[in-house]
């Protein structure tokens, strides 16, 4: 259990700058999710905290200690890798116990800690198996177990669920979150899946091209995106963006409205042609095209009437739900 502070952390590989200066301060026991598109530097950031990647500049502090120059083991962290990175020739027990053995933990304590973790993760019956004799979900649990037994100050997860099927992903997502709650360990969790980010995070960090665009609670980020990128990235289907031109306004402010806030109404001043619609059961997504080609999506109750393809309809929204962005993408 510990706090984690990143201050203006930067990373360059040779001449290419990958992380342009990120500052986050994570509180004790907090679950932070780092989310962003592929290649934005999430893994790199996490690996710098882990000590697997050198820090070009800035500081990483765990519980107030500066750990920049420490080996991963000395940082008191545990990491869960995307492909689990289990030692293939070792049994589940040995996989979990390996770190403790190296730390010369007494045998009895190793057994007790592994047994405890195995119980938490329902792995008791698999302890003597090799990783290849386990299903993907079970392997994932072993990787978790390996992290738990070390009783680290900080958990680091790099897309731990991306190799699982959709259903298992939902289940494991809940389990990981519950486990982290129970153990009260500070966690940094990297994902590109915004649903994971929304459901698991105490606070989330939305990254875009090596910059943290916004740090905040999921619902706050959703309701109040700091940048155009965040508004577009968080929320599914993504926010509709409308230029000042098409709205007939002056200036160059872009307007974003979420699909659930956009209404079909005959009186709406913005006209668009229905292109196609997706019926999802509880709701229907209506995709429309404005005169200049801008795509707009409207989320409709399944019960409401859906415009015929090709028909022109009006669009409307509550001005309170309107998000305005300046040309640089900042909220204004």
């Amino acid at each position: 259990m510990a706090t984690l502070t990143l201050s203006n952390v930067k990373k360059s590989f040779g001449k290419t700058d990958v992380i342009h200066g990120i500052s986050i301060s994570v509180e004790d026991g907090e679950f932070i999710v780092i989310v962003g598109p592929s290649g934005c530097g999430k893994s790199t950031l996490l690996r710098m905290v882990a000590g697997l990647e050198t820090i070009t500049s800035g500081d990483v502090q765990i519980d107030g200690r500066r750990v920049n120059d420490q080996e991963p083991m000395d940082r008191d962290i545990a990491m869960v890798f995307q492909n689990y990175a289990l030692y293939p020739h070792m049994s589940v027990f040995d996989n979990m116990a390996y770190g403790l053995k190296i730390a010369r933990t007494p045998r009895a304590e190793i057994e007790e800690r592994v047994a405890h973790a195995a119980k938490l993760l329902q792995l008791e019956t698999f302890l003597q198996r090799k990783p290849r004799e386990l299903s993907g979900g079970q392997r994932q649990r072993v990787a978790m177990g390996r992290a738990i037994v070390r009783k680290p100050a900080v958990f680091l997860f790099d897309e731990p669920l991306s190799n699982l099927d959709a259903k298992l992903r939902v289940q494991m997502r809940l389990e990981i979150k519950a486990l982290q709650r129970e153990l009260g360990v500070t966690a940094l969790y990297v994902t590109h899946d915004q649903v994971e980010a929304m459901t698991m995070a105490d606070r989330m960090v939305v990254m875009n091209g090596g910059i943290a665009d916004q740090v905040g609670e999921p619902l706050e980020v959703y309701a109040n995106p700091a940048t155009e990128f965040v508004a577009g990235f968080i929320g599914s289907p993504p926010t509709n963006f409308l230029s000042a031109d098409i709205l007939g306004r002056s200036g160059d402010t872009k307007v974003g409205v979420r699909p659930e806030h956009t209404r079909l109404s005959d009186s709406g001043s913005l006209r668009a042609r229905a292109a196609y619609s997706e019926a999802l059961g509880a709701e229907t997504l209506v995709h429309l095209k404005c005169a200049d080609g801008t795509q707009v999506t409207v989320r409709q109750d399944a019960a409401s009437t859906i415009p015929q393809e090709g028909n022109e309809v009006g669009l409307d929204w509550d001005p309170a739900n309107e998000m305005r962005f300046d040309p640089s993408g900042r909220r204004c």
Binding site: G51, P72, L86, Y87, Y98, I102, R132
Partner: protein
């Protein structure tokens, strides 16, 4: 239907033909070995007087006992031991060195890494026979003639095994090394606890190949062992042929030949089992 039967029959006949072909092939290759075996169980007179016997005689025990205990120049048991030490020394030495050098090349960033890589690669182009004179000079100056070190050391350096392990190490996911680092394992710990056990299939396969390579060395032992007590069996057989007018002791020579074949066969058969188990056990 009839046509289908016909096809099945033809295929059946083809199968039989293939088998007959294979059997003939095996008999063809096996025949000289059989002759050697027969010759090792009969008396000298029976060999030199045509026709050559085709069925084993009754001298098996006396011939083999004679070969093992006294031989011609040195007892075959001594030569077998020498060969054994040399072959095992070469294979273990090669495996140890190439594991370590492959580990260095794959996992460490050090200055002139590429240069070292190419230097190792270069040695591939210099087999023992090419560098035999300078090597002899070096070994002689070290006073290693007629010694096990002299037999083993010059044959240990080789790049083939290094390449094999390098290739294998490169397929091991980086995350495994990183996970070990997070677990607190230093480089050598990672090497012994993780890399080595993961390579055991490769090691077994390589051991078989290198053992036979070491066992079959002829030119090098011939050069540096002048003392019959240090002869290896493969070169020892040749030494058994008399020079001049002496008559060759064929039964003993043949018994020696058969004995020379036994250890490599045992290694292949024994390691094959381990090898296959390794393959079945190995991950994905």
């Amino acid at each position: 239907m009839a046509q289908q039967n016909g096809m099945v029959e033809r295929r059946g006949a083809g199968l039989w033909l293939t088998h007959v072909g294979l059997l003939v092939g095996i008999a063809f290759i096996f025949f000289p070995i059989w002759l050697a075996f027969v010759a090792s169980t009969v008396e000298q007179q029976e060999i030199v007087r045509p026709p050559m016997p085709l069925l084993p005689g009754d001298q098996f025990f006396s011939n083999y006992a004679r070969a093992l205990t006294s031989g011609v120049n040195a007892p075959v048991s001594t030569m077998l031991l020498n060969s054994m030490i040399m072959a095992i020394g070469i294979s273990l030495g090669k495996i140890a060195i190439s594991l370590l050098s492959a580990f260095a090349i794959v996992y460490f960033r050090f200055p002139a890494r590429r240069l070292f890589f190419w230097l190792i690669f270069l040695t591939l182009m210099l087999p023992v026979e090419v560098r035999i004179v300078p090597t002899y000079e070096v070994i002689a100056n070290f006073g290693m003639l007629n010694s096990y070190q002299g037999l083993i050391l010059p044959l240990i350096a080789s790049a083939t095994a290094t390449f094999l392990f390098r290739q294998f190490f490169m397929t091991v996911p980086d995350e495994l090394a990183e996970a070990a680092r997070v677990d607190g394992a230093g480089p050598m710990r990672f090497f012994f606890d993780i890399l080595l056990p993961m390579s055991r299939t490769n090691i077994a396969a390589l051991f078989v190949i290198l053992f036979i390579y070491g066992w079959n060395q002829y030119l090098w032992p011939l050069l540096i062992t002048t003392d019959p007590e240090m002869n290896t069996i493969v070169m020892g057989i040749k030494q058994m042929f008399p020079s001049g007018d002496d008559t060759a002791d064929w039964p003993v020579i043949m018994a020696t030949s058969i004995l020379a074949m036994v250890p490599p066969v045992l290694v292949v058969v024994g390691m094959q089992r381990l090898f296959i188990r390794g393959l079945v056990d190995s991950e994905k």
